[in-house]
């Protein structure tokens, strides 16, 4: 089978969680052939692959949104009149109110310039005025005009591209990738699978709310557009997966049909970790944190919390394992804080071989502000080490389980809560028995629920379900 994977801003150019996952999955499915349809922001990324492409990747179709800057509009853009359904669809699109997507796909398909020309079209201007009058009568029209134009230009540009042919379309996020997946699947009448590894819409929303280059009164425009994109993908997808229950509920809240939703947990190669022996007692308690030194991991709270642990448990040591070069300013601040708190037993190890280092660790720690389903926690659990984590993403599900009978594998505490973090660590430091017990619980849970082979099988089943559904749809 030929599977077209649609990746936005990640594989194969940018390394990261989703990219590694995808690389791994392609490697584990040698029986299938893959086409990677990669959407990137900048053309300078062309050819700079972060991964060695597996043999079963037949083709990489790359589009760069900044490439449209080089597209020149013909001196006289073609004028075309829209039919009433087309006009209605576009009006809904520009006001981010779930348009008749099929109408829009048909209109712009296979014609790059048509989308750009639409933005100088009389109908476009009339629709825009209607939308502005109806919904933003007190907003500066010129700003509104340019905002709408730059919001929809990338979409129209992407819709004009010809989708690569495949037997199944699979986008690894919603957003632009989700719309393209919907478009391609509709174009060729093929099944479409959406796998979300976070919640795209929520992430965009947070990003937009934080940013200061979008004026406050236009933020809802942007946010609504991304929600619309996501709903488009939910509407067209045959199967929609998420990593954990709560994420699945959010998908349904946004508008995904519960029947399409499925939870597929991440998997780890448990066999690589399960034979690492527990650390022999040496009079010290070693805590490990496998994290990149960046603000989102909240290393500072980690240091404060550990300084409380030190006050009670003088023989505790903290090993922070992970690259320090991503945000050097933040790293320097962390070093300074370590000195100020006189934490001579904290070590920044830099990049290390986690499997090797795990031998010297008693339990692990994660203080992140945001996570999906962190691999670091899964690997530590696979190695039989308990974990102290903040309650983000599905960490609670990992640590405490959802009525799976395995028992607790550590502690899950509120985000940025130094006191509870410290208490949890102290408890683990003082009770070797509990460490062993919780470690065992975690190991069993990972072996049962988070196996890599299981994950691959689940995705293959999802593909099959989608194919069956599409088949039935065609027959109906």
């Amino acid at each position: 089978m030929r599977i077209c994977v649609i990746a936005e801003g990640c594989y194969p150019f940018v390394p990261g969680g989703v990219s590694s996952w995808l690389q791994n999955m392609i490697l584990q499915m040698p029986q299938h052939e893959f086409v990677v349809w990669a959407i990137s922001a900048q053309e300078k990324q062309r050819g700079h692959f972060a991964y060695e492409l597996p043999k079963n990747v037949a083709q990489v179709v790359d589009v760069y949104l900044d490439a449209m800057i080089h597209e020149t509009l013909k001196q006289n853009p073609r004028r075309y009149r829209l039919t009433t359904p087309q006009r209605d669809a576009l009006q809904a699109l520009l006001s981010s109110r779930d348009p008749d997507w099929d109408e829009i796909f048909r209109l712009f398909r296979g014609d790059r310039l048509k989308g750009v020309e639409f933005l100088v079209n009389r109908d476009f201007f009339a629709i825009l005025q209607d939308v502005c009058q109806e919904r933003y009568p007190f907003v500066g029209f010129t700003d509104f005009f340019w905002t709408i134009r730059s919001m929809f230009l990338p979409l129209l540009y992407l819709l004009g591209g010809k989708p690569p042919e495949a037997d199944l379309y699979h986008s690894v996020s919603a957003g632009y990738a989700g719309v393209l997946g919907s478009m391609a699947a509709q174009y060729y009448g093929k099944p479409y699978v959406l796998t979300e590894h976070g919640i795209y819409t929520r992430e965009r929303e947070e990003e937009i709310l934080r940013t200061n280059w979008v004026p406050p009164h236009f933020k809802d425009l942007w946010i609504n557009m991304f929600y619309m994109f996501t709903r488009c993908a939910y509407q067209h997808a045959d199967q929609v997966t998420s990593l954990f229950e709560r994420a699945s509920l959010i998908q349904q809240e946004i508008g995904c049909d519960a029947k399409k939703c499925e939870v597929i947990r991440n998997g780890v190669h448990a066999e690589r970790f399960e034979n690492i022996p527990l650390k022999a007692p040496d009079g010290m308690i070693d805590i490990g944190a496998v994290v990149r030194i960046v603000p989102i991991k909240d290393i500072k709270t980690m240091l404060y919390a550990f300084s409380r642990v030190r006050a009670e448990v003088p023989n505790a040591r903290l090993h922070i394992m992970g690259p320090t070069d991503e945000d050097e300013e933040y790293y320097d601040e962390c070093l300074q804080l370590k000195e100020d708190l006189e934490l001579d037993t904290v070590t920044f190890t830099g990049r290390v071989n986690v499997q090797e280092y795990m031998k010297n660790i008693d339990f692990t720690l994660l203080t992140s502000i945001s996570e999906g389903q962190p691999l670091a926690v899964l690997e530590a659990m696979a190695a039989g080490r308990p974990a102290v984590t903040t309650n983000v993403g599905c960490c609670r599900e990992l640590v405490e389980g959802v009525d799976d009978g395995f028992g607790s594998a550590g502690y899950c505490v509120p985000v940025m809560h130094q006191g509870e973090l410290a208490e949890a660590m102290i408890a683990l430091c003082r009770d070797e028995d509990m460490r062993r017990r919780m470690g065992e619980n975690g190991k069993k849970r990972v072996q049962a629920l988070y196996r890599h082979e299981q994950m691959i099988t689940n995705y293959l089943n999802t593909y099959q379900t989608a194919i069956d559904l599409a088949q039935r749809r065609r027959e109906a």
Binding site: E71, P137, D143
Partner: protein, 497 residues
């Protein structure tokens, strides 16, 4: 996490600059101001030389030499006037005033070299004119090219007053110096050509000093403006057709039964020419009206409309400003037409007596009256064309003046060998067509002006790479390198680098 999200949003232009171009009013000054000046000079020169006892042939030769130098230089400079005005306006808008003066010299050079060669050959072939007179006429031609271009620059800076002062000084010089030279016994042709040369020389020097108080001497290639030729090639044609349209019937009529050869290729049609020159005066009220009233009243609303767009006006505010502007525009056009019609009637009736006293024949008066109607329509039609340019409707402007030019040309060709009763009908039909078409086009365009303003903006900030554009950029880099050459020689350049 996957997703481009928004880092890429920075790729896009937030909003395009909407430049307000107000440079085009100059055109009305140039076409009518210079014509009035020419008519005044032509009449004055004839009266003055006859008073000093010049023969008919001498007067005719002098008039023909003047007409050719003036029409030739006007048509030649019209090729670049609009374009340079636009360039000046854009440079002023971008606060790059040091790029302005070089373009004047570049433009003059570009026109003078081929223009001087052609006109020189033209004079060379004319027999019966002395070499000195030929040289003076050639000098006058070259000088005029420069003066017309200068006027585009001064008017782009909206300095009408100083133009009038320059005009006055020039005219005064012509008559005082001319009278003096003739009194000293110089040949009327040579004396008057010298006086004209000096008079326009005074104008050029005074314009130049005015320009240097407005703009710095400047840096960069004198041909950097060629980039604008790539951007707005249509302005070359608009300039050319609007200017030559006003004269093409004169040139055609030189070959009619009324035409006669003076010397070499120099022809004229004295009966028709005089009638046309007098008729042209009827356009003065509209030219003045346009600059002092239409442009001023309309421009206020025009500015308000554009500031509603650029300064964050809501849709409602923009629409209100647009409707206000449309209202004032309609009012002003109506008033312009009203005044012109009134003046036209008075002028055609009353001037008859003046012309009779100047011994005009009945045929000439008939031509004069027909052409008065024609030039009246032309004056308003031309204002419509200028207003189209205010809204950056260059296509409309080009169609409007091309229509005028072609109907005038074809109509005059059709009437030239018919009864004198038909003379002038071609240009009158052209004027009326220009007026009607120009008005309709302007009104339809303005009706959806907000669409044109917004959707006329490129979707992306694309700078179209054109041959002219890259040539101009290369020339400019070279010029700057040459200017900095002394730095390199003294070694400072290396340190800077």
């Amino acid at each position: 996490m996957a997703g481009i999200g928004f880092e890429l949003r920075k790729l896009f232009v937030g909003r395009g600059a909407i430049s307000k171009v107000r440079a085009y009013a100059y055109a009305s000054i140039i076409t009518s101001g210079t014509m009035v000046l020419a008519v005044v000079l032509m009449l004055g020169v004839q009266l003055l030389t006859r008073a000093f006892g010049a023969t008919d042939l001498q007067v005719e030769t002098l008039v023909v030499l003047m007409i050719y130098a003036m029409l030739g230089s006007l048509i030649l400079s019209s090729l670049l006037q609009m374009l340079l005005s636009r360039y000046v306006a854009d440079m002023m808008y971008q606060k790059l005033s040091d790029r302005i003066m070089p373009s004047l010299f570049g433009g003059a050079l570009l026109l003078m070299i081929p223009g001087g060669l052609v006109y020189g050959w033209f004079l060379w072939t004319a027999q019966g004119i002395t070499l000195l007179d030929k040289a003076l006429d050639w000098g006058l031609f070259m000088l005029l090219v420069m003066v017309w271009l200068q006027m585009a620059y001064i008017t782009a800076a909206k300095d009408y007053k100083r133009i009038l002062v320059g005009f006055a000084a020039g005219v005064l010089t012509v008559f005082v110096l001319g009278a003096g030279l003739l009194w000293l016994g110089m040949s009327p042709i040579t004396g008057m050509l010298l006086a004209l040369f000096m008079g326009y020389g005074v104008m050029m020097v005074s314009f130049n000093s005015v320009l240097l108080t407005i703009f710095p001497v400047g840096t960069g290639s004198i041909l950097a403006f060629l980039e604008w030729l790539g951007k707005y090639p249509d302005l070359v044609f608009v300039g050319f057709f609007s200017m030559s349209g006003a004269f093409v019937h004169l040139i055609v009529m030189w070959f009619s039964p009324l035409g006669q050869v003076v010397a070499g290729h120099f022809r004229f049609a004295p009966l028709h020419d005089s009638a046309a020159f007098f008729a042209y005066l009827v356009a003065i009220p509209t030219s003045v009206n346009f600059v002092v009233s239409v442009e001023v009243n309309f421009y206020q609303k025009y500015k308000m409309f554009f500031s509603a767009i650029t300064d964050g006006g809501t849709l409602l505010e923009i629409r209100k400003a647009r409707d206000n502007m449309k209202k004032v525009l309609t009012q002003e056009i109506f008033r312009l037409t009203q005044v012109q019609v009134f003046v036209m009637v008075m002028f055609t009736v009353l001037m008859r007596y003046v012309l009779e006293s100047l011994s005009f024949t009945r045929d000439m008066i008939g031509m004069f009256q027909i052409m008065s109607v024609g030039y009246s329509a032309y004056a308003i039609g031309n204002s419509m064309m200028l207003l189209q340019l205010y809204f950056n409707d260059r296509k409309g402007a080009l169609m409007t003046c091309l229509l005028y030019f072609s109907i005038n040309l074809l109509g005059t060709l059709w009437t030239m060998n018919r009864s004198p009763l038909f003379y002038g009908l071609g240009m009158t039909a052209a004027g009326i067509a220009m007026y009607v078409f120009g008005l309709l086009r302007l009104m339809t365009y303005v009706k959806s002006i907000d669409y044109h303003v917004f959707c006329g903006q490129p979707v992306l900030a694309v700078s179209r790479q054109t041959l002219m554009g890259s040539l101009a950029a290369r020339l400019n880099r070279r010029a700057i390198a040459v200017e900095n050459a002394h730095l390199r020689v003294s070694g400072k350049g290396d340190m800077q680098r």
